[in-house]
Subunit: 292 residues, 4 copies
Amino acid sequence: MAVVLGYNQYGKAENRVVRVFRDRDPHEIVDYNVSAALSGGQEPVHLTGDNSPCLPTDTQKNTVYAFAAEDDIVAQPESFGIRLARHFVDNTEPITRARVKLEMYPWSRLNNPHAFIRDGRYVRTATVTYDGSTTWIVSGVKDLVLLKTTDSEFWGYIEDPYTTLQPTNDRIMATSLLAQWYHTSEDVDWGKSYDTVLSALLDTFADHHSLALQQTLYEMGSAVLAGQPQIAEIRFSAPNKHHFVYDLARFSLENNNEVFHADDRPYGLIEATVRRDDAPDPSLAFDPGQGW
Amino acid sequence: MAVVLGYNQYGKAENRVVRVFRDRDPHEIVDYNVSAALSGGQEPVHLTGDNSPCLPTDTQKNTVYAFAAEDDIVAQPESFGIRLARHFVDNTEPITRARVKLEMYPWSRLNNPHAFIRDGRYVRTATVTYDGSTTWIVSGVKDLVLLKTTDSEFWGYIEDPYTTLQPTNDRIMATSLLAQWYHTSEDVDWGKSYDTVLSALLDTFADHHSLALQQTLYEMGSAVLAGQPQIAEIRFSAPNKHHFVYDLARFSLENNNEVFHADDRPYGLIEATVRRDDAPDPSLAFDPGQGW
Amino acid sequence: MAVVLGYNQYGKAENRVVRVFRDRDPHEIVDYNVSAALSGGQEPVHLTGDNSPCLPTDTQKNTVYAFAAEDDIVAQPESFGIRLARHFVDNTEPITRARVKLEMYPWSRLNNPHAFIRDGRYVRTATVTYDGSTTWIVSGVKDLVLLKTTDSEFWGYIEDPYTTLQPTNDRIMATSLLAQWYHTSEDVDWGKSYDTVLSALLDTFADHHSLALQQTLYEMGSAVLAGQPQIAEIRFSAPNKHHFVYDLARFSLENNNEVFHADDRPYGLIEATVRRDDAPDPSLAFDPGQGW
Amino acid sequence: MAVVLGYNQYGKAENRVVRVFRDRDPHEIVDYNVSAALSGGQEPVHLTGDNSPCLPTDTQKNTVYAFAAEDDIVAQPESFGIRLARHFVDNTEPITRARVKLEMYPWSRLNNPHAFIRDGRYVRTATVTYDGSTTWIVSGVKDLVLLKTTDSEFWGYIEDPYTTLQPTNDRIMATSLLAQWYHTSEDVDWGKSYDTVLSALLDTFADHHSLALQQTLYEMGSAVLAGQPQIAEIRFSAPNKHHFVYDLARFSLENNNEVFHADDRPYGLIEATVRRDDAPDPSLAFDPGQGW
């Protein structure tokens, strides 16, 4: 038996770069959290501490801020990520793969050309991966908190010895959505594409009569795919944020599904992929976390 | 020397109550985090474990959810807090004081009468304190993140042996505002009052040419007081969220105040009160934390 | 009516300073989060943006790191805070008051003279306030999570129309303790004093047969005061971290008080002061938050 | 083109179960956060809202608490996870795969047979995956914060146009370690195995003279594999928690590598696998997050 180095990557995480477009009237801003991760040829670093193949994470940081000066690039997370990922691989011997993850925090304009309020409705995300020839582009949204007060049922499920849940024909359905979708083309207006996805998600969530959160997510994904042919698949992680009807009958009060306790933990967690049946394998597109 | 019990209060904190107004079209919701704290006559509990003067925190919780069934009361945090505080004191021997703190999370309607998106721009707050005769009402806002890209200077300050800061005539100014204001009357349309304060805060932040964050806060406070005679004073806690110009000259790139690093810690923290010169003493209105 | 400036202070918050004592064998470290807040003579800053009375928060930051080089001072949060607070007031016209709040993160030594593991059992705190003549010193602990599996009862409380809680003679009692205590002397070995308080808190929590969390806190406070004559009072904030017996009878399983759900929210919150009957007024010792 | 359901799983996340062993003297406790995720045959739920193949997440929750009553099972996260994962697949038509993730919070005994203090040095973890025939078992640790004051260098790296970092022969090295390791056998004393891994990690971190954090991690992984033949590989995610020397020369003070600013973001992030060259493919062992 010998010990060997397996999957590895390294980078600078959570670079908090804010770019102001000061020569426009009104001013514009973009607000990012950028994480880079590189791999390729790093065995000497790990095995002997020979750093000759290592582009320091400090240098990666400088590069993120330097490229933020490029007007066209920095305006969208996808283009910013593409620029960075390709730079790291194409210009750094021996790096063979880069993954750049971006969070973009939306701001709304106040009634003034230079003032803004942070819009906390969601965080827009992008993950760009490049291996020297292929570029994988994933767009996403997270922390999108949605709730509907009716049009949600849950019944007809398996019963086993541990079942105590009562079926319901009318419950609150709420979630904090994380969604990521994979593009098979780069020929995309990223801002417009994002807005179109967001509308499809919100409209479908709102209008769908739900028999299960799973069903609603599938409808939401289908709507996203129907709207844009270059989106091959979408992946959801959706906590079922439980709202329990509070028992007020104990106090001789009616509670016609009106007073709820919003519970923290535990919570249901629904994860699902909706994809075209002819979609290509996403390969390296989605970050596997520690599931290397 | 003898040991004695000093200041004390007890209660149920962070009751997460959601109320749906289901008989309206479209539906409406309010979403609260309610914390109650009671005091008065609790010496036996502390000194000997005799719980006869103790209204359990579990009972306080039930009461919060029960009163959430009352339509007119629950719609505004101030009226919900008043109802609860007076109930606990007036109906519970030996309780002599109640303080109810409420956070209210705003939701926006989606394009559907039953569906909502959580609006993360701020959290609205209220603190109501009642001692059996006087009711103190404080409204507030927190997590209101604001940024202006220009119209902010900082220069002319004290220099001492530890000074290294350079003066500036043009910097980003950003903060995450916490504000609380004290009403001297209950005869208030709470929702309208809150909206008016919020507009005054946002408009003044946006339009004020700032020589110091302190000056901007004072202007914001003055605008709030000018708009509503029953608001006696307003208290601010405002972190100065530093945005540092990134040094790109090292890479032969210009940075005309356009590329910034948004730093986390440390941060400036400005705390200030703006009040009418004839305002009454706020007495118990503001929660002193552990500064009893 | 005129608008005036009320209570105000400003400073640099959360300076994360780590000091290594490198000339000792084995090495020692201290790890701090230091927040300074100054007040006095700041009207021109607020009213007109005239910063001539303002010592910038950036300078305060530099001072914190500079004084961390002083060996004897930096070793204990109380002495570090005293040094900083007196410097800011005594050497800065027109500052008349400084409050310095410190969090100290404990580390334990690994089996090596230069390596450490962060010990997450608690955070040690200090708050030092100085007004040019008097220095108030408060020590503290937070995030001290304690649990006892028995010797805790709760019964005999008030019943009202909203009561549903059942009395119990044997429950889990758990809390995450925040405690702050006020010293009436500076002639104290701060490290030894802290350790003595911590032992008194832990031993009393463990050994006390509790009829209410309030009673246990009072006993804990009494033990602290009994051990050190210069401690005039101690203030507790103690969430009652509820552990609910899970109903397993529905599955024909016994649960003799052995399987619990540890709930998040809501939670009881007990706040109490234990003090000597001849203790002086703590005046400015405890930070009032926004309860100025 | 047709739209289809891809990878999916669902379950109840973050069940906070505490088990007391009350018939032992002294008492013992285990404290868990358990998340279950099931998959198999869920197309009807997603496509039409037909819940007949769905074991509700509420039932999964009940099962977690019910099995916590089993003395031998619940004592170790690996055995608790195995029990749950096999139950869900073996007893629920049509479930074909279960993944159970557990966090275990350590407690230390106070000087009393019934009282405990939460030991915040780390969180122990386990992930168990079962597909009806194979059971994959991964153990882990997270939030293990380590620091060494010397014996860490970093030099000899790539320089490019964005390089500004200076090489160093003596720096602070600090990390908050996340590690997960995969067992190829179930015939393991889980508690003893965990303790052995933890010792190997701590001892190697402390004693290794480091030329790069990557090299230190590789050594730590090698030590873990050397100690236990059934551990096939270990995966690390290690932020490089930067401690920057504060420039005190500006104040005419020496700083011989003694006063540091502990920065928050950005941070280096090193991810690496150390494995036996004959290790089997870990297949489903490690949770891929959204990288399905």
